[in-house]
């Protein structure tokens, strides 16, 4: 099983520990064996240990340590945000965030909706069972 996601300039990664938890950042340079210089449109360019990063499939086309404007333009061109939100990993995170922000009333409405859906499914199943039985 060969590796598919590499640490390289332009690799988009997700921060999984620390202050910037949950942010998507771009690896802009490699400092040494353990650290990378990362940058993102909404943060100051800083160093991060690789252990704090989870690599994603997305890669953008930039040169080593681009200027902020160039970085932002490259991210727009590659549509990082769109690709991320369409990917299954990105979609999962969005759902998790939505579930965590549910209000008590929302949770009640969700429960009612689940029960209704289960009721409809069960009715259809009963119908199908009757058809195959007969």
């Amino acid at each position: 099983m060969p590796f598919k996601r590499f640490v390289e300039i332009g690799r988009v990664a997700l921060v999984n520990y620390g202050e910037d938890y949950g942010k998507l950042v771009v690896i802009v340079d490699v400092i040494d064996q353990n650290r990378a210089l990362v940058d993102s449109p909404d943060m100051v360019r800083s160093q991060m240990n690789f252990k704090r990063l989870s690599l994603t499939d997305i890669k953008i086309d930039i040169k080593r340590v681009p200027k902020k404007k160039v970085l932002v333009a490259a991210m727009e061109a590659a549509d990082v945000k769109g690709k991320w939100e369409k990917s299954s990993w990105g979609r999962k995170l969005i759902v998790q965030k939505r579930r965590a922000s549910l209000n008590d009333f929302d949770r009640f409405k969700l429960m009612i909706a689940k029960i209704k859906k289960a009721g409809v499914v069960r009715q259809e199943l009963a119908k199908l069972k009757k058809e195959t039985a007969s």
Partner: protein, 229 residues
């Protein structure tokens, strides 16, 4: 509100003011006041000293000095309400016979307790007082603009004082049983009067009535410190 008063003589460093005494005299316009009053400074006519009332000497001096307790002028204020608890909020009661019930908050009484109602038809909780400490404030709000709660205060909920009965033995048991159990019709009417506009407000939001009729409980996987209420 009036804007802050301009100081005519700001303090440059502690103890040193900007303008000298003579310049301040000029600035305050005391020369103009004097000129208006013909060279002298206007003086109020001296008030007649109030007639001194002769206090009668007391007939009796107590033998020992009795210590007086220090005066306490503190006026207790009603409890500060949490930001999440505002009139019209749905609250979750945590203790007592209505634990888990979701209830509408009406107003805070002068004792600090919260006045709530089910509404009674929806979940069986009547007009009642509840302590803020035993309540979770949710972020769901109900429109209570149509409800008039001005007549309810702590006295309304106090225990009714019964007149002392004469000790007749046989009458004792029967009379007691009959009087205590029924709720006076006036309180039932009050409940209906408060609940009627509330029920209308509840109808306008889908599922809200069913929500208030259901009890809250923690299920598997729910972490209270992570839940958003």
């Amino acid at each position: 509100m009036a804007p802050k008063q301009k100081t005519r003589n700001p303090e440059l460093i502690p103890g040193v003011r900007k303008v000298s005494r003579s310049k301040m005299y000029h600035k305050r316009g005391l020369w103009a006041i004097k000129a208006k009053n013909g060279g002298k400074f206007p003086v109020h006519a001296k008030q007649e000293a109030a007639a001194v009332v002769e206090e009668k000497k007391p007939k009796f001096y107590p033998a020992d000095d009795i210590k007086k307790p220090l005066s306490n002028k503190r006026k207790p204020k009603p409890t500060k309400l949490r930001a999440s608890v505002t009139p019209g909020t749905v609250l979750i009661i945590l203790t007592g016979r209505f634990k888990g019930k979701r209830v509408v908050f009406l107003k805070q009484l002068t004792s600090g307790l919260l006045l709530i109602t089910g509404p009674y038809k929806v979940n069986g909780v009547p007009l009642r007082r509840v302590n803020q400490a035993y309540v979770i404030g949710t972020s769901t709000k109900v429109d209570i603009s149509g409800v008039d709660v001005s007549k309810f205060d702590d006295k309304y909920f106090g225990k009714q004082v019964e007149k002392k009965k004469k000790k007749g033995e046989t009458e004792f048991f029967e009379a007691d049983k009959q009087e205590k159990n029924t709720l006076p019709a006036e309180k039932k009417d009050d409940q209906k009067a408060v609940d009627a506009p509330l029920l209308k407000a509840l109808e306008s939001v889908p599922d809200l009535k069913a929500y208030l009729g259901a009890r809250f409980s923690l299920k598997a996987g729910m972490k209270p410190h992570e839940l958003v209420f």
